[in-house]
């Protein structure tokens, strides 16, 4: 009896195997896992294992010799007298800020996405590109803009405009949790806008119609039907925002320092800067652990994927809600977001590039020389405005080339990850891939880059020494930015039922044809998001680039940082504006060419 069962089971396995042979999902899944294990797990282990090994130079503190196992770093972070300063308080702060930012980003992004994809709000075509811009500006520009407005004498530099007018800005408004939350929320809501918007765009409006018919008010429809169906994209964008807060350093540092408000990220970065690999590793491990926890809960939440399938076989509809007399007020909301998220920071930044002394708005203080002068005195290595000479254009081309390639890879691999994760529904491969493809997001870029340097500086097996080559930069940028694409891919694929693919199979299309002709085009929006997000993020990337470029490859970010060193903050900021402009143009053109603007409908 038992043996017979076993025989049946083997037979059944054989059958399943022969099915799997024709469904490259499994194969691709394994392949992706292998590649990612090498590119993600290996560096990650290299970084994290420092947490329990004595680092060179820490012999006196630990009383052990380098490389030995030690609990010292754990003790220092979790139990020592400074642990509350370096860890516990930042942990609490991080949670507060992360939750706040996530909620704010969901609110802003969700509202914007709804208005742009489902209603006839005034200017939706235009807004659907414009509202992505906040993410194109480095996050610290928001902090700068904030300080320009609210700064009081708690911190260095000049006071903000309000104080200058005699309005006393309290510390809680000027620094700490509140402004950090606002600034980061404004910065990261485009994640939600893009992911959630893509998902909304594919939602069959009849699903909402049927609820309204049953008497549900808009709010109920939103809460009971729309949002639950959007869960994959919501949880993906939540993950992206949340994960980013765990690692974002710039804004919290600028806005938190004056009131001693630390996040895990600031703790981490001070550990990195102070060359404490052990401490770095411990805090990074905590961040990764929190991230993994969130990813796991996301996987649990979305366990039954078929529940979220909104692109099926029966005809869908995409009707826009007529806002009627609310068209203009709604547009005002959208433009309000635009004003806060784009206009203010950009203007602040732009003003800083045309004023000799920042913050003084007198005629003689304005100048265009940082842009166009062909002879600037006193700057080593950069004696002219940034639009003169070839430096800017070379750097822009390098950035475009390297980051562009990396983000294309990201987009494709991300969608593949999404495909495999969703199609091998619930299998171990799926959940592993889901997690591993998100991990790079949680590790600070500099730590990752350092590990990569060790990994790829010499030939390993068939892989030649890549260190110093552009290839390595592309690979690292692709790996570290893959999470954007894979999340976008996963949430999009969750929505797509099997029917369209089955129909193609029946029509005689093999796997590649199906993916190329059916899946990719239907997921065009997700694919483009999976390219755009890494691109925008990658073109702003500095720490990885600095660590992995050898010499000669000037990128926009390195150019900007060099200019700061030459004391031309104006020009550095001008380069930042150029970065944003390049991002914007690339995004705009991509959306134009692929017709994936959030404002476009289901077909075509």
């Amino acid at each position: 009896m038992l043996r017979e069962n076993k025989a049946t089971r083997t037979r059944r396995w054989r059958y399943r195997l022969s099915i799997a042979r024709h469904e490259p999902t499994l194969l691709i899944g394994l392949l992706l896992i292998a590649v990612l294990a090498y590119l993600v797990i290996a560096p990650l282990v290299a970084v994290l294992s420092d947490a329990v090994r004595v680092q060179f130079g820490d012999q006196p503190k630990t009383g052990q010799s380098p490389g030995e196992l030690t609990g010292y770093y754990l003790w220092r972070v979790f139990r020592s007298p400074v642990s509350s300063i370096v860890f516990w308080q930042p942990l609490v702060n991080t949670m507060v800020v992360a939750i706040g930012v996530t909620v704010l980003a969901l609110l802003l992004g969700g509202t914007a996405a709804f208005l742009l994809t489902r209603t006839n709000v005034v200017g939706r075509k235009w807004l659907s590109t414009a509202l992505v811009v906040p993410y194109m500006l480095p996050s610290w520009t928001f902090a700068l803009a904030w300080l320009a407005l609210f700064k009081n004498d708690r911190s260095g530099g000049q006071v903000g405009i309000l104080e200058a007018w005699g309005v006393r800005t309290p510390d809680w408004l000027a620094y700490g949790a509140f402004p950090i939350t606002i600034c980061l929320g404004l910065h990261y809501f485009p994640f939600v806008l893009l992911l959630f918007g893509n998902a909304l765009r594919r939602l069959d409006s009849q699903l909402e119609d049927s609820a309204r018919i049953l008497g549900a008010r808009q709010r109920t429809v939103l809460g009971r039907i729309t949002l639950p169906l959007m869960l994959p994209s919501l949880s993906s964008s939540t993950l992206l925002v949340f994960g980013r807060i765990l690692g974002t350093f710039g804004t919290p540092y600028i806005l938190g320092l004056p009131v001693d408000f630390n996040l895990l990220a600031t703790s981490l970065f001070s550990a990195v800067r102070n060359h404490e690999p052990g401490i770095t590793a411990v805090i990074a491990t905590v961040i990764v652990a929190i991230g993994v926890l969130v990813v796991v809960s996301d996987a649990r939440l979305l366990r039954e994927q078929r529940r979220f399938v909104t692109v099926g076989g029966k005809g869908a509809m995409d009707r826009l809600t007529d806002l009627g007399r609310w068209r203009w007020p709604a547009a005002a909301v959208a433009f309000g977001i635009f004003l806060l998220g784009v206009v203010i920071p950009v203007v602040t930044l732009a003003l800083s590039t045309v004023t000799v002394t920042p913050g003084i708005f007198t005629r003689e203080n304005f100048t265009l020389k940082y842009w166009i002068s062909d002879n600037l005195a006193g700057a080593p290595g950069f004696p002219h405005g940034i639009l003169r000479g070839t430096e800017l254009f070379d750097a822009a081309w390098n950035s475009l080339r390297i980051v562009g390639l990396a983000s294309l890879i990201c987009g494709l691999v991300g969608l593949l990850v999404g495909y495999v994760v969703v199609r091998s529904d619930g299998s171990r491969i799926a959940s592993f891939l889901r997690q591993i493809s998100f991990l790079p997001y949680l590790v600070p870029g500099i730590a990752f880059a350092a590990a990569f340097l060790s990994l790829f500086a010499v030939q390993r097996g068939p892989i030649p020494a890549l260190y110093g080559s552009i290839t390595l930069l592309v690979i690292v940028l692709a790996v570290t930015h893959l999470p954007y694409a894979s999340r976008s891919g996963i949430s999009a694929m969750t929505q797509l039922g099997r029917e369209p693919e089955e129909a193609a199979q029946i029509a005689g299309a093999g796997w590649f044809t199906r993916v190329r002709r059916i899946v990719l085009p239907i997921q065009k929006g997700a694919l483009v998001t999976g390219v755009i997000l890494p691109f925008i993020s990658g073109i702003k990337e500095l720490s990885i680039v600095i660590m992995l470029t050898t010499t000669g490859t000037q990128l926009l970010t390195t150019l900007s940082i060099n200019l700061i060193d030459f004391a031309y903050d104006q020009m550095a900021n001008a380069v930042v504006l150029v970065i944003a402009l390049v991002s914007f143009l690339a995004t705009y053109l991509t959306q134009r060419l692929t017709r994936t603007s959030l404002a476009s409908g289901l077909g075509g």
Partner: protein, 382 residues
């Protein structure tokens, strides 16, 4: 709830595009069981969705009694959730993230029905639709017919005053369909609610509806009780559209084909001249396949129109036989439940009662000859 009135309603999906619904004037009587019939793409779904408030007319107004629901002219729009109507979507529109039970329950939850009552109503609806056993599954785990029944149950559970059903039984088997029809009929009888439904099953329309509205290319062709529509089609389109096989239609006149000349002669006999018939505008004659019968020579009476035809094919359809006949180059169909001995190639004599002849003028509109020949006028059925 009083009558639902659509006044001069037009709908174009894209500005300047073709009209999905064209200047529709339609009154759905209170408490009626009105059936929308018409070829695929004629605007039935669009009409239902406009009544429900899901689609906005480009022109015209919709009201229930005195309550304006839509009025393009006066800028009135009542949102769907405030109309108190139920709609069963042609493609179900079930919520994939809710189990069958929760799908059905939704409307009641929205109405804040107490939970015990809710459970009772949901169970009743599920039982009525014979899907109680799949209550805990998700829509994606159901067969097509089961999904369709969930969407019916979802609407029936909340018992709205106006039920709009878009091909609600199309994916059900005959037995089930019969049972569901009975249930709908029962609901209608018990509640007296207004039901508007779209079906392609003419038997369904005939047996269930109190009113039938036939549409074509967005334009209303006829609104009348079902037997009237069947027996007194307002025009050739309606005549040809209803019935399976469709009504035999042929041109009739002194210059028409053999059959048409024959009919012309018959019509102009008995006191009428060809000129009279001509003056009355008769252009097309129609006769339903089941109104034709095969007769022995002596059997046909004077009140009958009779002619000879060649049997082309005999198709058994289970309960009956469909016989296709040729008269010269005109093909006719005849349906009978009586077994006949004729085989392909035989010549048989056919007859139809004069009252079974439908007359249409050259624009296709019905022409009852009432003023010239009263005995041919009136209803076509016996």
């Amino acid at each position: 709830m009083p009558d639902i009135t659509l006044t001069a309603v037009s709908k174009a999906y894209s500005a300047g595009g073709p009209l999905a619904v064209d200047n529709l004037d339609l009154t759905i009587p209170d408490g009626s069981f009105t059936c929308l019939l018409g070829p695929s793409g004629c605007g039935k779904t669009t009409t239902l969705r406009m009544i429900a408030g899901l689609e906005h007319p480009t022109q015209g107004s919709i009201r229930v009694g005195d309550r304006q629901l839509d009025s393009v002219e006066r800028g009135i729009f009542v949102p769907p959730e405030k109309r108190g109507m139920g709609l069963v979507f042609q493609n179900y529109a079930l919520w994939p993230h809710l189990s069958v039970r929760r799908n059905v329950e939704f409307g009641l939850t929205v109405r804040k029905t107490p939970s015990a009552e809710r459970k009772r109503l949901v169970d009743a609806a599920l039982t009525m639709m014979q899907i109680l056993h799949v209550a805990d599954r998700y829509p994606s785990q159901l067969s097509g017919g089961q999904q369709q029944r969930v969407s019916l149950a979802r609407m029936l559970a909340v018992n709205p005053a106006v039920l709009l059903l878009d091909e609600p039984l199309s994916n059900l088997d005959a037995t089930l369909r019969l049972e569901m029809r009975a249930e709908l009929k029962r609901v209608h009888d018990e509640t007296g609610h207004t039901i508007v439904f779209v079906t392609h099953d003419q038997l369904e329309a005939m047996t269930m509806a109190t009113h039938v509205a036939v549409m074509r290319d967005g334009v209303l062709q006829q609104l009348a009780p079902p037997l009237d529509v069947y027996h007194r089609p307002a025009n050739t389109f309606v005549a040809a559209f209803l019935g399976s096989p469709a009504m035999n239609l042929f041109e009739c006149g002194p210059e028409a084909g053999v059959l048409g000349r024959q009919a012309w002669k018959y019509l102009s006999g008995g006191g009428l001249t060809g000129g009279d018939v001509h003056a009355a505008g008769v252009h097309t004659v129609g006769v339903r396949p089941e109104a034709l019968r095969i007769v022995d020579a002596q059997e046909s009476t004077e009140a009958d129109w009779a002619f000879d035809a060649t049997v082309k094919a005999v198709l058994p359809t289970g309960a009956a036989w469909t016989i296709s006949l040729m008269v010269d180059d005109t093909e006719l169909y005849l349906v009978t439940t009586k077994a006949i001995a004729a085989v392909s190639g035989d010549t048989v004599r056919c007859a139809a009662a004069a009252s079974a002849l439908h007359l249409f003028d050259s624009s296709g509109a019905r022409n009852d000859l009432a003023d010239v020949r009263p005995e041919l006028a009136g209803t076509a059925h016996a």
